[in-house]
């Protein structure tokens, strides 16, 4: 068959009109992910003003130095159930934060965690949505010695500082585009200092409460500025010590809303990218990409996908299937999860 330009036009129209499976396009998911990107960029800008001569600190998720402690000297959480595979030794936790939530409002009480580009944040999300949008509160802890700067919002509006009531007796202010509206139109930012002068920032939206400022101040007052390693539902052995976790997300509930939580780790192992995801088995997707390998154990499903597998070290020449063999699952009960995630 040969084809002229007119015929090609018609044939392409016909091809485009061909029905496909239901779309998986997800606007709320795009909003959440897009906000993460915007927030990272803003954080990078804000952290460029450094009061104590340092630079923006890479929040630590270093390899543990002693058995039973994490990088900050805290105790490693071990699985409580003897039936589950205990991590054999010390390990690092890619989700180690410089602070974590205390009190949270009832409509945003699910704390999840996110590591992207060396920045770790905690996020409190609501399970229920109001008009298709879930309440969210993001917590960012700035590195010690860093004073966040004011810049511009995404729409170009200048960020203004409006004094807020002190938080635990320390300086606090709202960051807003309108001096007369500390809630910034419902996209509310609060910055405050901890007892030792470290800056924290809350970003709340869709809170749907008549007292947004009161709730934000209460959330801020409850934030604990101590290092906190987030227990995760797996541990992985056999990875080289040079492994770097570039992204980690523990979402509660999952962004798709089909699961109470899901976890994704993206690591650079040798010259390869390794993506490990864990979800409750009941919520695992029925269909997976062909290059992905999965297993189910202890009520959880773990999947591994490797890109540029030729860059894996020789000890992992078996690729995704071999890495999956090194993934140990700890079941759906968070009481059994561990902070010794990446075993030496």
């Amino acid at each position: 068959m040969t084809i002229g330009e007119e015929e090609l036009h018609d044939a392409i129209e016909e091809l485009a009109a061909r029905p496909g499976p239901p779309t998986t396009m997800d606007a709320p998911n795009a909003i959440v992910r897009g906000r993460r990107i915007v927030r990272r960029r803003r954080f990078a800008l804000a952290a460029t003003t450094v009061a104590a001569g340092g630079t923006a600190v890479v929040l630590a998720f270093a390899v543990l130095s002693t058995h039973g402690t994490n990088a900050h000297g805290g105790k490693v959480q071990q699985p409580a159930s003897s039936a589950l595979p205990h991590p054999p030794g010390p390990g690092s936790d890619p989700l180690t934060l410089s602070g974590t939530f205390g009190w949270l409002p009832a409509n945003a009480a699910n704390a999840g965690y996110s590591l992207h580009d060396s920045q770790i944040q905690a996020v409190a999300r609501g399970s229920s949505s109001i008009g298709g949008t879930k309440p969210m509160i993001w917590l960012t802890i700035y590195p010690k010695g860093t004073t966040p700067a004011l810049d511009k919002f995404a729409d170009g509006a200048t960020q203004l500082r409006v004094d807020a009531p002190d938080v635990n007796g320390r300086t606090a202010y709202w960051m807003t585009g309108s001096a007369g509206d500390p809630t910034n139109g419902g996209d509310t930012y609060l910055r405050w200092q901890s007892a030792d002068g470290q800056w924290g920032e809350l970003h709340g939206y869709y809170l749907a409460t008549p007292s947004v400022t009161t709730e934000m101040l209460r959330v801020a007052a409850g934030v604990d500025f101590a290092p906190h390693s987030v227990p995760l539902p797996l541990w992985i052995s056999g990875l080289p010590s040079s492994t770097v976790t570039s992204e980690a997300d523990l979402d509660r509930p999952s962004l798709s809303g089909t699961s109470p939580w899901d976890l994704q780790l993206i690591m650079t192992v040798g010259g390869a990218s390794v993506d490990v995801s864990v979800t409750p088995a009941a919520a695992a997707p029925h269909s997976t990409p062909p290059q992905q390998v999965c297993k189910t154990a202890s009520g959880l499903t773990a999947c591994v996908i490797v890109d540029a597998g030729a860059g894996l070290p020789s000890t992992l020449s078996g690729g995704a299937a071999e890495i999956l063999r090194h993934v140990n699952l700890l079941g759906p009960d968070p009481a059994n999860w561990t902070t010794a995630v990446l075993q030496k």
Binding site: E13, A16, M25, G186
Partner: protein, 169 residues
């Protein structure tokens, strides 16, 4: 409620334009799942730019350009970020919704898949999106001469591929 207003306007836009973007993406990659991932990644990028993008006169053209560029950059990158998206979404209807037999357009889909990505993008922009040579050059950030040569080569490759497909029993 500035942020809520943005989100509502963004959602309204992508819901309205999603089917069209998906078709463009499908013509570029000939795979519905990959098309979905291309569109999803593209609308994330669109959201990041939304405060500025929403003011653009030809927002459809801007969004289409994001999709085309996402497709072309995916060809250059070995790491298809789509795997990230796969994890997040159970596929609604996978295994339960029949996909109609493409029949009449099957050979064109195969032929498109057989030609180089940049030629394919040129063909899709010229013959599906009805863009002029100048407009196509703007989307692909190349000269009009390049568009003309890519179009000619793409058409020729397409014809050859379809002849091969037809000749193959």
């Amino acid at each position: 409620m500035r942020q809520q207003h943005w989100d509502a306007a963004f959602t309204e836009y992508v819901v309205a334009k999603g089917p069209w973007l998906r078709k463009v993406a499908f013509l570029l990659c000939q795979d519905w799942h990959r098309a979905d991932d291309l569109v999803q990644n593209s609308i994330i990028k669109l959201y990041v730019q939304w405060p500025q993008a929403a003011k653009i006169e030809n927002l459809d053209g801007y969004t289409r350009k994001i999709v085309v560029n996402a497709f072309l950059s995916e060809q250059r990158s070995p790491w298809w970020r789509r795997v990230v998206l796969w994890h997040e979404q159970a596929e609604p209807g996978s295994g339960s919704v029949p996909v109609p037999d493409p029949d009449a357009s099957l050979d064109l889909a195969d032929a498109l898949a057989a030609i180089p990505p940049r030629q394919r993008a040129t063909i899709v922009l010229r013959y599906y999106c009805d863009l002029s040579v100048d407009e196509t050059a703007l989307v692909l950030a190349c000269s009009t001469g390049t568009v003309k040569s890519q179009t000619a080569r793409g058409l020729e490759a397409l014809r050859r591929a379809m002849e091969v497909n037809t000749a193959t029993p």
